[in-house]
C-alpha cells in the first residue's frame, strides 16, 4: 500500500469543509474552524495538521478528490520520496 504524507496549510484553510464532506476519515474540522488530518478516522498523537499514512489505491483517490475540492488549495499530498503529488507543481 502506498505511504503518503497529507498536510493542511492552516494559514490557507478557510474552513470551507469540502474535504470533510468528501474524505471524512482523513479530514475533520477543529475548534479554530480549520481542517486537520486524521489517519483512517483516528488521531494518534492528537490533532495534527500533517501526518503520514498508509492508504489503498481507492483511499488515495478519495483523499486526492478531497484535496482537489479545496477552494484554497490548502491540502498538500506527498509520496514516500517526498515528491508533491498535489497540487501539481
Amino acid at each position: 500500500m502506498p505511504r503518503i504524507r497529507v498536510k493542511v496549510d492552516e494559514d490557507l484553510c478557510i474552513g470551507a469543509a469540502s474535504c470533510v464532506t468528501i474524505a471524512p476519515d482523513t479530514f475533520q474540522m477543529n475548534a479554530e474552524n480549520k481542517a486537520y488530518v486524521l489517519d483512517h478516522g483516528t488521531e494518534p498523537e492528537g490533532s495534527k495538521y500533517e501526518r503520514w499514512m498508509e492508504v489503498t489505491d481507492d483511499e488515495m483517490e478519495n483523499i486526492l478528490l478531497g484535496a482537489q475540492s479545496c477552494p484554497t488549495l490548502a491540502i498538500f499530498i506527498f509520496d514516500e520520496a517526498g515528491t508533491q503529488l498535489f497540487p501539481d507543481m
Binding site: Q28, M29, N30, N33, P71, L73
Partner: protein, 395 residues
C-alpha cells in the same frame, strides 16, 4: 454525442472533467465568458492580501483543456439558447448545436448606479487585479469604505483590515445579513467590528459617491465620510438572460429537479445559476458557494451520461470576520422553518441558531461557536428527530 457546457467556472469545468472521465470518445465544448483558465474565486482574497502569488489562483493550466480533448471557447458570450432546435447562438454571430447542454453560467454582481475610479467589486480575477492596483496606489492617509452586509463585505473587511487601512462599513440593514441571521449574532459581529476600530453605519439605504476624477468621499444618512477606495458587495443575481423564450423554466434561478435536469429534455443546470430541488429539505434552493457548484458539476456529468443520481449535499459556508467566525449549515431560511432556537449568549461570546422543521434540524448558523459544527452537521445529515431522547444538542 456532443456535450456543450455554458460557463467555465467551477461547476462547468468540473462537469467537463467528469464527462471526460466517464466518456472518452464524445465531443465536449466548454464555453467561458472570461479569458482565464479555471481559477479559484475563493483564493482571490488570499492573492489580494499577498498570501499567495497570482499564478497560484489557477486550478487548471491553459494546456489542460486540449490535453483532456475539451474544446475550450474562451471569451465567448451566449446570446440565446434555442432549446427546441438544440443549438445556442453566440453574441456577434455563430451557432453551435448540442445533444446535451449544461447551463452553469453563474451569477453576476449587482452594480451601483454610480461608477467612479476607486469603486471596486470582487467577483472575478480581473476585479482582484484591479483592487490590487487600487490598493498599491493608495496614499498613506487613505480611508477605505465598504458598502454591503454579506460575504463580499466580509472579504473586503479582512483585506483592508490586514492592510491596516482605516475602514468605514455601511450596510442597508440593522446588522450584517439582517434578513439572514439573528439579532444576537448581528450584535456579536458588530461588537467584533467595533473592537477592531471599524466605523459601522447601519440602515444605510442609499449611498452617494463623491469625487471628480476618482472617489473622494461617500455621503450616507446625511453625513460625509472620507473614502479613497470603496468596496461594494450588495449581492449577486443568477445570470440567465440568455434563456428568454427558451421554454426553460426559471424562478429566481433555473429550475431543476433533484437530478439537475430542467423541464426541457437534455438541458441541465448547475452551480450558482441553478435553483435545484433538494430532496432532503423538500424545497428548491439556490446555493451560491464553491462546494455546491463543484459537487453539482460532478452530479450533472453523471446524469448527462446516463446515470440517475440525485444531488444530495448538506451545504455549508464559513467566513471569518476580523477574528469572529460565522458558519451557515444546511437550510437556514427563517421563512421555511417551523421554529428557531438560540443556543449561547452574546455575553458568552457565541450564539448558534437552530432551524427546525417537522421536529428535524434542517439548518444552523454558528457565530463564534465553531465547536458546534461537527455535531450539528451530523444531525442534519442523519435527519435526526429532535424529540428523540438520544439526540443531544449543544448547550
Amino acid at each position: 454525442m456532443h456535450y456543450v457546457i455554458i460557463g467555465g467556472g467551477i461547476a462547468g469545468t468540473t462537469c467537463a472533467e467528469e464527462l471526460r472521465k466517464l466518456d472518452s470518445a464524445s465531443k465536449i465544448t466548454l464555453i467561458s465568458e472570461e479569458f482565464h483558465a479555471l481559477y479559484s474565486r475563493v483564493l482571490l482574497p488570499h492573492y489580494i492580501k499577498g498570501k499567495i502569488p497570482r499564478e497560484r489562483v489557477f486550478l487548471k493550466k491553459e494546456s489542460w483543456y486540449a490535453e483532456q480533448q475539451i474544446e475550450w471557447l474562451a471569451g465567448e458570450i451566449i446570446e440565446r439558447v434555442d432549446a427546441k432546435n438544440k443549438h445556442i447562438e453566440f453574441v456577434g454571430g455563430g451557432e453551435l448545436s448540442y445533444d446535451k447542454l449544461l447551463i452553469a453560467s453563474g451569477s453576476e454582481v449587482k452594480l451601483m448606479d454610480q461608477d467612479l475610479p476607486g469603486v471596486s467589486y470582487l467577483r472575478t480575477l480581473d476585479d482582484a487585479d484591479q483592487l490590487v492596483e487600487l490598493m498599491r496606489a493608495l496614499p498613506k492617509d487613505a480611508h477605505a469604505c465598504i458598502y454591503g452586509g454579506g460575504f463580499i463585505a466580509c472579504e473586503y473587511l479582512n483585506i483592508f483590515h490586514e492592510a491596516n487601512i482605516p475602514i468605514t462599513l455601511a450596510y442597508r440593514g440593522a446588522h450584517m445579513w439582517s434578513r439572514g441571521i439573528s439579532e444576537e449574532a448581528g450584535m456579536l459581529i458588530k461588537n467584533q467590528l467595533v473592537q477592531n476600530g471599524i466605523t459601522v453605519i447601519e440602515n444605510a439605504k442609499e449611498i452617494e459617491c463623491i469625487g471628480e476624477k476618482t472617489i473622494e468621499s461617500i455621503f450616507i444618512n446625511g453625513q460625509t465620510y472620507p473614502c479613497s477606495l470603496l468596496g461594494v458587495g450588495v449581492g449577486v443575481a443568477p445570470h440567465f438572460s440568455l434563456l428568454q423564450e427558451s421554454g426553460i423554466q426559471m424562478h429566481e434561478g433555473i429550475l431543476t429537479n433533484a437530478f439537475l435536469e430542467t423541464n426541457v429534455k437534455d438541458v441541465y443546470a448547475a452551480g450558482d445559476v441553478a435553483e435545484f430541488f433538494d430532496e432532503r429539505f423538500e424545497r428548491t434552493f439556490i446555493t451560491g458557494n464553491w462546494m455546491n457548484a463543484q459537487m453539482q458539476g460532478r452530479v450533472a456529468a453523471r446524469n448527462m451520461t446516463g446515470s440517475h443520481a440525485a444531488f444530495d449535499l448538506v451545504s455549508s459556508y464559513a467566513m471569518n470576520i476580523v477574528g469572529i467566525e460565522i458558519i451557515f449549515i444546511g437550510d437556514t431560511s427563517r421563512t421555511h422553518a417551523d421554529e428557531t432556537r438560540l443556543i449561547g449568549t452574546v455575553e458568552a461570546g457565541g450564539v448558534t441558531e437552530l432551524f427546525v422543521r417537522k421536529n428535524k434540524l434542517v439548518g444552523a448558523i454558528l457565530t463564534g461557536r465553531n465547536m458546534d459544527r461537527a455535531i450539528l452537521t451530523k444531525l442534519i445529515q442523519e435527519k435526526a428527530d429532535l424529540t428523540d431522547s438520544g439526540v443531544v444538542l449543544p448547550m
